[in-house]
């Protein structure tokens, strides 16, 4: 491989990989937001805090109970998802008949509470989480070095995103779900318990955020504020992609992660804001979002 665009290939591919990793998290989180919004019409502002909870759950399971990464990968999202179920039952379910803004305000308050408590207990410094033995090391691909764990994160994210898409678009359960978003009264009349479905949907969306948190724990340090910047980027991703389609949310997430990686190579100063710039451009050209179905 020659020098690509005046950048050493190691640097270019390294940053692209980092972009792909970030994209995996954007995709997972915007997918969860889209699923929740589709069913509940609530923008879940606590999504970033719940992602942080997933990472902390994995860290605590390891530290206090000696539970390894593989078990935590299943257990932590379940725990965070169950917390989501409780929140939905106790609070969110009271707001469905009101303006959608109240759901946003409530989950914003929840995010403040969750992040504030963890910040109070753990400060702002991160806690390290070791990469599991089986995923340590890496492969030399010739043009770049691929750490195994990072490849694993991208793979898991792709599988989970595709699995969620399949479940919603191609199964009977997904058909009920889509029907309930269109006409809950009619679906209820057919004998399907819509309130339970709504609760389960929120729990599932929150569990996705928790899963992203577990995946992130060995890469980034486990930190109380890890979700607070991420959630805003994910909001921008959601605005760019529109929340009309599951695949759209996933695709947009990956694309923007890669774009961010590119920016880091060629113009690092702008890497923090490139996604917001893209959002502004998309708003000018196609206000409903790339995959949006708004009128």
């Amino acid at each position: 491989m020659l020098e690509l665009l005046g950048v050493p290939p190691q640097v270019l591919f390294g940053q692209l990989l980092l972009g792909l990793i970030n994209g995996s998290f954007y995709a997972l989180l915007s997918l969860g937001l889209a699923v929740i919004f589709g069913m509940l019409n609530v923008i879940n502002f606590a999504h970033g805090a719940q992602y942080m909870l997933g990472a902390f759950a994995a860290w605590m399971l390891l530290k206090f109970a000696g539970v390894n990464y593989w078990v935590a990968l299943v257990l932590a999202p379940v725990l965070v998802g169950l917390l989501g179920v409780v929140l939905e039952k106790l609070m969110l379910s009271r707001l469905y008949k009101l303006d959608h803004l109240y759901g946003l305000l409530l989950t914003f308050g929840l995010a403040l509470i969750i992040e504030g408590m963890f910040r109070h207990w753990y400060g702002v410094s991160g806690q390290p989480y070791p990469i599991p033995q089986a995923l340590a090391g890496g492969h030399n691909l010739g043009f770049m070095f691929l750490p195994t764990y990072r490849g694993w994160v991208v793979a898991v994210s792709l599988v989970v995103c595709f699995g969620t898409w399949f479940m919603i678009e191609r199964t009977r359960l997904g058909a009920y779900l889509r029907a309930a978003t269109e006409n809950p009264v009619l679906v209820q009349a057919f004998g399907i318990n819509v309130p339970v479905m709504i609760t389960a949907t929120y729990g599932f969306g929150v569990a996705l955020a928790g899963l992203a948190g577990v995946l992130a724990a060995p890469i980034y340090q486990v930190n109380p504020l890890m979700g607070s910047h991420l959630i805003i980027v994910v909001f921008a991703v959601v605005v760019i992609g529109g929340m009309g389609s599951i695949l759209g949310a996933v695709l947009t997430g990956f694309m923007l992660g890669i774009l961010e990686g590119f920016t880091k190579v060629f113009y690092p100063e702008a890497s923090n804001i490139v996604i917001f710039v893209v959002m502004a451009v998309v708003l000018l050209i196609k206000p409903a979002g790339l995959f949006g179905r708004e009128k």
Binding site: L104, F108, L110, L112, H120, V239
Partner: protein, 327 residues
């Protein structure tokens, strides 16, 4: 995406402006003015000035959510950018405080024009997300631009001499200056919402498609309201920079945007005095919490949750409803 209920989303809980009789309002206003004039002899003027800055900020925010139905989650961008510009203009260029503040307002208004132009293309919840994302962009600019002092902010901003004559170094003089600024902003907002322009804004809030079909250029009205709200938020931010002699990243983070949402929600969305009451309560609470071990964000979050679940009308809104005898 379809809504939950078959009917249109209920606006029964939507804030209603103009509760209470006009006479009562003016009496309340006069009483408040007297209180405001004697207050600095009882309480610490700098604290009062801070509360007034945030009260103005909250009123500016309330102009959008309460009277146009637009929830902006990015108002810290205007507040903070004006604070930076004012601080820089006064400290480095040696402008008088009022000119520095005006410059800050101008910059905030420009940002408002740009943001508003993009944000009003989306509605409701998307509007909130767009404003939040745009304000995060401004936050990164503040973090990375050379003149903002990065993590330190711009410190030791001289208060200077108002119109080159009045020494704002004196806390009492400074308080009365801030009070004058607040009253000017407050009256401007009051006049605006009671003008024909304000009536159109309310019509847009109640039923946008109908406002469109009546021939109003809805987008222009929304944009004008957005720019005005941004400029007033900038006025609050610039004044704050003079009072505290400091512009820092705190003023421009999204947590600050959340704070102003909280003040307005707590006081009462779409009420005239609500944001003022809410701002005073939140600032007092923060002052009190600073001396305790309680984490401020957690308390803030709890108030948010309680407000949304239990009294969505806010304090002033609930009182107004009681006075009307339909609590």
């Amino acid at each position: 995406m379809a809504t939950h209920s078959q009917t249109a989303p209920s606006r029964a809980e939507a804030p209603r402006a103009g509760q209470g009789s006009p006479a009562l309002k003016w009496a309340a206003l006069a009483a408040l003015l007297v209180v405001a004039l004697v207050a600095p002899f009882q309480l610490y003027p700098v604290f009062l000035a801070k509360a007034l800055c945030f009260a103005l900020f909250a009123c500016a925010f309330n102009l959008l959510i309460g009277y146009v139905g637009l929830l902006s989650f990015g108002h810290a961008a205007f507040f903070g950018s004006a604070a930076y510009v004012t601080a820089h203009a006064v400290k480095v260029w040696g402008l008088t405080p009022e000119l520095g503040i005006l410059l800050g307002v101008a910059v905030a208004a420009l940002f408002g024009l740009g943001f508003g132009f993009l944000a009003i293309r989306r509605q409701g919840i998307y509007f909130a997300m767009v404003t939040l994302a745009l304000s995060q962009m401004v936050f990164f600019l503040a973090l990375q631009l050379p003149f903002t002092g990065g993590e330190d902010g711009i410190q030791a901003v001289p208060r200077g001499y108002l119109f080159g004559v009045i020494d704002l170094g004196d806390n009492l003089a400074m308080y009365y200056f801030v009070l004058a600024v607040f009253l000017a902003g407050f009256l401007l907002i009051y006049r605006t919402i009671h003008s024909p322009f304000g009536q159109v804004l309310k019509a847009i809030r109640e039923n946008e498609p109908r406002a469109v079909s009546l021939g109003y250029k809805v987008d222009q009205y929304k944009l004008a309201a957005f720019v005005m709200s941004a400029a007033l938020a900038g006025l609050a931010g610039g004044t704050k920079a003079i009072v505290f002699q400091l512009a820092s990243l705190t003023d421009i983070t999204w947590q600050m945007s959340g704070e102003v949402v909280l003040m307005t929600l707590l006081g009462g969305l779409g009420t005239i005095f609500g944001p003022v009451v809410g701002a005073f309560l939140v600032v007092t609470l923060q002052n009190y919490l600073a001396g305790t071990q309680l984490p401020v964000t957690v308390v803030t979050g709890v108030i948010f949750v309680v407000c949304v679940l239990l009294f969505r009308r806010g304090i002033v809104g609930e009182i107004g409803a009681l006075l009307k005898g339909r609590a």
